[in-house]
């Protein structure tokens, strides 16, 4: 025995050493067979969720985002500041303004005279939420909504601020929030796009909206927002051209699919089956879309609820009604834009018109979802891109004034989908310039929205140009206080 062991050690020459190393490598090689990702150069796919799967159980299934484009004044809507009325015409104390940069429009102004709301405020509902007289219908549903008075953003001009709100970045080329959800959760109803966009325009001073706001950025183009137009053809080029019936179209698609299949068999390009699938979806959309866009079968009192304008295509009211129908039919993310909220001057006149456009229909949308039992699973967000200054831009008179852009605080409201109802969250100082309690940044709002939809904003990423992108970039905290 001893001898054998001794001999064994004597035999430990170079050949033996190399032979033994081979065994060692054999062990490594066998092990590596069990680790598909170790040697292939790919990272562990731990945080890459399989598409269509949530990270955890979701509170909300769908979102309707009501963008009040141009930035409605918080001081004439939800953030009641009687002190501003007392201090009418007095200059904004520099200590309050701090180092806040101004826009080119008021930077040259010699004084910053404070001005309070021309419209009265009252408290409504069990929650005692303050709402201005401009929004009598929203005032009636305060117990169903959560007003956030402490929103703030980074940008001071419309385009970057709106882009920021939509994509989590001020520069372009990032996926819009709706595209992220389309990517992360897919479509509920596979006969409709996951992300739909509806536009309307008020009579107030407007700011442009561009299709980049609902762009898919670096995500696959199937996640792009689909704009529904106000015409008889809400989705362009969806209908068969004259002279082609559905049967002919079916035959054509079948033949096209078999040609595509030949191409796929030969080249194996994964885009080809994707294309076949998209054609099939468009074919199904041909029947699904008219079912949804037809509002003539809505009961009469629905029309009373949304206001008679809901029968006029292209109005905010019509879009709200359509948004409800789309959302009810499983469209993951419906986004409305209503232009005309940029009241640099003639705020008193213009804001009345704008509020009249949206007040009734916004409230109706929430009530309508509620009475169908859908509000619990649908998150509705009503928001501009930033706030407006507490001082007057241009000439201040007793009867009229204007307000400039203000990124430091603004008010929005959210409803349904797992958000606490009947609360006001966050506070601003008595001059309505700075936030004093519970600030909510745009990134925080995004993180919270994602949380409600069952997604972890830190985990849903997309790798592009060598780095992973998130909707919230490297920021954002879920605002737990808002969760029901």
């Amino acid at each position: 025995m001893e001898k054998e062991i001794f001999e064994h050690h004597l035999n430990a020459n170079r050949r033996h050493f190399l032979g033994k190393m081979a065994l060692g490598f054999g062990g490594v090689a066998l092990g590596s067979l069990l680790m598909p990702d170790l040697l292939s150069g790919k990272e562990v796919a731990e945080d890459q969720l399989p598409l269509g799967l949530k990270h955890f159980a979701a509170k909300a299934k769908r979102i309707i985002l009501l963008v009040q484009n141009g930035a409605p004044s918080q001081l004439e809507s939800f953030d009641y500041k009687p002190k501003l009325n007392d201090m009418f015409g007095q200059d904004l104390p520099p200590s309050v303004r701090g180092d806040q940069k101004l826009t080119g429009m008021t930077a040259g102004q010699k004084s910053f005279p404070l001005v309070g709301s021309k419209f009265g405020f009252k408290q409504y509902g069990n929650s005692g939420t303050w709402v201005s007289d401009l929004f009598p219908n929203i005032a009636k549903i305060t117990d169903d909504i959560c007003v956030i008075k402490s929103m703030h953003t980074d940008a001071i001009n419309h385009d970057p601020a709106l882009t920021f709100m939509q994509t989590g970045a001020q520069v372009g080329n990032r996926p819009s929030i709706g595209s992220w959800f389309s990517y992360g959760l897919g479509s509920e109803n596979k006969n409709l796009p996951a992300y739909c966009v509806l536009l309307s325009k008020g009579k107030g001073n407007g700011q442009g909206v561009y299709s980049k706001l609902w762009s898919n950025g670096f995500l696959d183009s199937s996640h792009q927002g689909v704009q529904l137009s106000a015409s008889e053809d809400p989705i362009l080029y969806l209908n068969n051209p004259n002279g082609m019936d559905r049967k002919t179209r079916r035959t054509m698609l079948d033949n096209l699919a078999s040609l595509n299949q030949l191409g796929y068999d030969e080249f194996g390009d994964p885009e080809i089956p994707a294309k076949i699938k998209q054609y099939e979806m468009a074919f199904r959309m041909q029947t699904a879309v008219p079912e949804i866009t037809d509002v003539s079968k809505e009961p009469d009192h629905i029309k009373k609820m949304y206001g008679p304008d809901c029968m006029v295509p292209g109005t905010y009211a019509a879009n709200c009604l359509l948004a409800r129908k789309l959302s009810e039919s499983g469209v993951r993310f419906v986004q409305l834009y209503h232009q005309g909220w940029d009241q640099h001057s003639n705020l008193v006149g213009e804001m009345q018109g704008q509020a009249k456009d949206v007040d009734m229909a916004s409230a109706a949308l929430i009530t309508d979802l509620k009475q169908r039992g859908l509000l619990d699973e649908t998150l509705v967000i009503w928001s501009g891109e930033f706030g407006r200054t507490n001082y007057c831009q241009g000439k201040l008179t007793k009867d009229n004034y204007g307000r400039d852009h203000h990124p430091r605080c603004f008010s929005i409201f959210v409803a349904g989908g797992g958000v606490k109802a009947g609360i006001s969250y966050g506070k601003t100082d008595e001059l309505g310039y700075n936030i004093t309690e519970n600030p909510v940044h745009i990134h925080d709002l995004h993180a919270t929205i994602m949380h409600l939809m069952g997604l972890d904003h830190e985990k849903m990423t997309y790798k592009h140009l060598g780095r992973r992108f998130r909707l919230t970039d490297v920021h954002g905290n879920v605002v737990k206080d808002l969760l029901a």
């Binding site: 025995m1 001893e2 054998e4 062991i5 064994h8 033994k20 065994l23 060692g24 054999g26 062990g27 490594v28 066998l30 092990g31 590596s32 069990l34 680790m35 598909p36 990702d37 170790l38 562990v44 269509g52 799967l53 949530k54 990270h55 955890f56 159980a57 979701a58 299934k61 509920e188 109803n189 596979k190 006969n191 409709l192 099939e280 979806m281 199904r284 029947t287 079912e291 509002v295 003539s296 009961p299 009469d300 009192h301 029309k303 009373k304 609820m305 206001g307 008679p308 304008d309 029968m311 006029v312 499983g330 109706a364 309508d368 509620k370 009475q371 169908r372 039992g373 859908l374 069952g454």
Partner: protein, 703 residues
């Protein structure tokens, strides 16, 4: 085998390298399903090394009683066997661990196992050095005892060994159990008492019972009632992890945020060791916290006892019209929605029988679901949420739902159910919310309904206030054409059903006495160039609409075709001039300029040639509809020339109208150009834009 020993050594070397590699790159490891049985052999194989190591120890303890040569032979051979079975058991264990054992116990067991494997291999390598050999051997034996114990804990539960003794103290908690006993004490027991107990009492502190906690430790009292900020326990917990004073110390299991929040809230409430959930007031924040984060969490976890349906089945059930989704990756519950009225087939619903245990949410809104079809839904015994809005069901369909004992939320909006449905609704035991907007259940029934269903929130939805009247929208013109020949039919319409439209043709404001619009108006222009129709809409319960006004223009002579030499500026005014000038739609100055309704010219002039070679009428006037931007002060047109010809070669100038200095902007909207009668075949209209101006045109008339 000639040389069994070196072969054995090679095998051992190979297996240990393999093991080391697996350990180092464990996070990348993915076990294919066909290898999983290997992992599951771990509980079988592990008994060999346990017994062999014990045998080795015994052999070494009694070596003096054994013949030395035999001892060497047996000992070495047994050692090799031990090492082989140990490393095999460890590798198998590692494979098994990836099937989802995540716990502290697991990681202890794993590392002890790995350590034993390498210690035994070290025994093989260091066999010559007797002293080291013995130390290592006894160490490995101790390892086996502990590793074995933890391993048994994994399979039988961590308190398996002592359970018969500790079970005596186990309690059932309910809402009358003090919060301290139900929540706080278990946290302390799990995270603190391993060091702060009567035996170990670090910092002179014992956290195992109320009395010893009240005594405090060497640094004072553990908590201060109503004052979590000054409570030592929370202060220590809140310190940064690196801090010496932080508790539990770095490396031990930390308190979770939820646990800290609970203790904080409990201390704020008064650190009362007797107060129970039942005794707390509803608005108390401690009660709310427990309700929200502790009770709910438990019930959610517990409520789903059924199995996962499996991703393959879920995938199979998904089709373009049916969405079948697992609630979350960790929940077996499934949510289903079916879409598409025209594509609906009953199988879309009945296929769900394959997941009838798992479906908790079902949305069938707007589908042609009738009573017959709904029978199936009764089979979904774990269904919690059912949406039947705007389906074709009636009261009797709800009979099927009485079996749905888990059903909490039922939406019936837009269905034909009425108050007679109550007899079924009463028997849906766990119903919590009911949506009955737009059903036959009337206001008067609501009282009865809420009385019979005291635990159900009833949402009757929007009920229009008869006092509030809204204005209708104005009537609309059907079709976009406003250029007609006298006597053509025009159609008005309204988006709302049941509206009556009244109209006038004489430019007066219409009212409820004006002519009623029926199915079309044959509009007689009565020799005039244009005619205005004014219309208003009426409907009961609504205020009359504003008046809408539509002006129709006489077509005049229609050329066979119109050609233009330059197409116009297509970048910002997207209209094609040839088409715009001769379509049957005239826009007024309010139409958005930068659109397809206008053709524009700035450097190159408008040159339009109208072909009348077939009809060959006698023409004496051309009207050109133009547009000047609102607020413009200068004319955008320099001059307009009308030429005629029979061969498109030799043109005769009929009229030149200079407008460069025209100040009346109204005149520029409709430019009337009269000239001596001509019956030639071709007419050419040249419009020269003014210097630095853009000329916009949208229609051309010949009279």
């Amino acid at each position: 085998m000639k040389r069994p020993i070196p072969f054995f050594l090679n095998v051992l070397f190979f297996l240990h390298i393999f093991l080391a590699f697996l350990v180092v790159f464990e996070s990348y490891l993915e076990i294919p399903f066909w290898l999983q049985p290997l992992g599951r052999m771990h509980p079988l194989v592990l008994h060999f090394p346990v017994a062999f190591i014990a045998l080795l120890v015994l052999l070494n303890l009694f070596r003096k009683h054994i013949d030395p040569i035999s001892f060497e032979k047996i000992n070495y051979f047994l050692l090799l066997l031990t090492s082989l079975t140990t490393v095999l058991a460890t590798i198998m264990g590692l494979v098994l661990s990836l099937e989802g054992y995540e716990s502290e116990l697991m990681s202890l067991h794993k590392w002890i196992g790995i350590a034993i494997s390498f210690i035994v291999y070290a025994l093989v390598l260091m066999y010559q050095s007797k002293k080291v050999y013995r130390i290592l051997l006894y160490t490995s034996f101790v390892g086996v005892v502990f590793g074995g114990h933890f391993g048994a804990g994994l399979t039988h539960g961590s308190n398996f060994l002592m359970e018969p003794i500790t079970a005596l103290n186990k309690k059932e908690f309910d809402e009358n159990t003090p919060i301290y006993t139900a929540y706080v004490e278990p946290i302390l027991a799990a995270k603190c008492t391993s060091c702060h107990n009567p035996q170990k009492h670090k910092g002179d502190l014992d956290l195992t019972n109320v009395e010893s906690i009240a005594r405090g430790g060497e640094n004072g009292e553990v908590w201060l009632a109503h004052n979590p900020e000054k409570s030592l326990l929370l202060q220590r917990v809140a310190l940064p992890l690196e801090d010496e004073e932080h508790m539990p110390p770095d490396g031990k299991t930390q308190l979770t945020a939820q646990e800290i929040e609970l203790i904080e809230s409990w201390i704020r409430h008064g650190a009362d060791t007797e107060i129970s959930y039942a005794l707390l007031k509803k608005e108390d924040s401690l009660k709310q916290l427990i309700t929200k984060k502790w009770l709910k969490g438990d019930s959610e976890k517990e409520s789903y006892t059924f199995d996962f349906a499996g991703t393959r089945l879920i995938e199979e059930l998904n089709n373009p019209y049916r969405s079948v989704v697992q609630k979350s990756p960790s929940s077996p519950a499934i949510e289903v929605a079916i879409y598409g009225k025209s594509a609906y087939k009953p199988e879309f619903l009945t296929d769900l029988v394959k997941v009838k245990e798992q479906v908790v949410y079902l949305n069938l809104a707007n589908l042609p679901i009738d009573n017959q079809t709904l029978q199936f839904v009764g089979e979904l015994k774990n269904l919690e949420h059912l949406v039947l809005n705007f389906t074709e069901i009636t009261n009797d369909a709800l009979a099927a739902l009485v079996a749905s004992v888990k059903l909490q939320s039922l939406s019936l909006a837009g269905t034909a159910v009425d108050i007679a449905a109550l007899k079924y609704l009463k028997n849906i035991k766990n119903l919590k919310e009911l949506f009955i907007w737009n059903t036959q259940i009337r206001d008067a029934d609501i009282v009865a309904l809420s009385k019979e269903l005291p635990r159900v929130t009833i949402n009757e939805g929007y009920i229009p206030d008869p006092e509030v009247k809204l204005g209708l929208t104005p009537p609309i013109l059907i079709g976009e054409k406003n250029i007609i020949s006298s006597g053509d039919q025009i159609s008005l319409g309204h988006k709302m059903n049941g509206v009556s439209i009244r109209y006038t043709l004489d430019e007066t404001e219409p009212n409820e006495k004006s002519a009623i619009y029926d199915s079309g108006i044959a509009l007689d222009l009565q020799g005039e160039r244009s005619k205005t129709v004014k219309a208003i809409a009426y409907k009961d319960d609504w205020l009359p609409s504003e008046v809408s006004s539509f002006t129709f223009y006489d077509k005049g002579f229609v050329p066979d075709k119109v050609e233009v030499v330059h197409p116009g500026i297509l970048s910002s005014y997207t209209g094609e001039a040839a088409e715009i000038l001769s379509d049957d739609s005239k826009n007024d100055a309010n139409t958005y300029y930068y659109s397809k309704f206008w053709a524009s010219f700035n450097i190159k002039p408008l040159i339009a040639i109208a072909d009348f070679s077939t009809s060959n009428p006698t023409i004496k006037e051309v009207v050109l509809s133009c547009g000047n931007p609102n607020g413009a002060k200068k004319s955008s047109v320099k001059y307009i020339e009308i030429w005629s010809s029979n061969d498109k070669e030799n043109w005769i100038l009929l009229r030149k109208l200079t407008l460069a200095n025209e100040l009346n902007m109204e005149k520029l909207k409709e430019i009337y150009i009269k000239f001596p009668e001509s019956s030639m075949k071709y007419f050419k209209i040249v419009g020269q834009p003014n210097t630095d101006s853009t000329m916009r045109v949208n229609q051309l008339f010949f009279f």
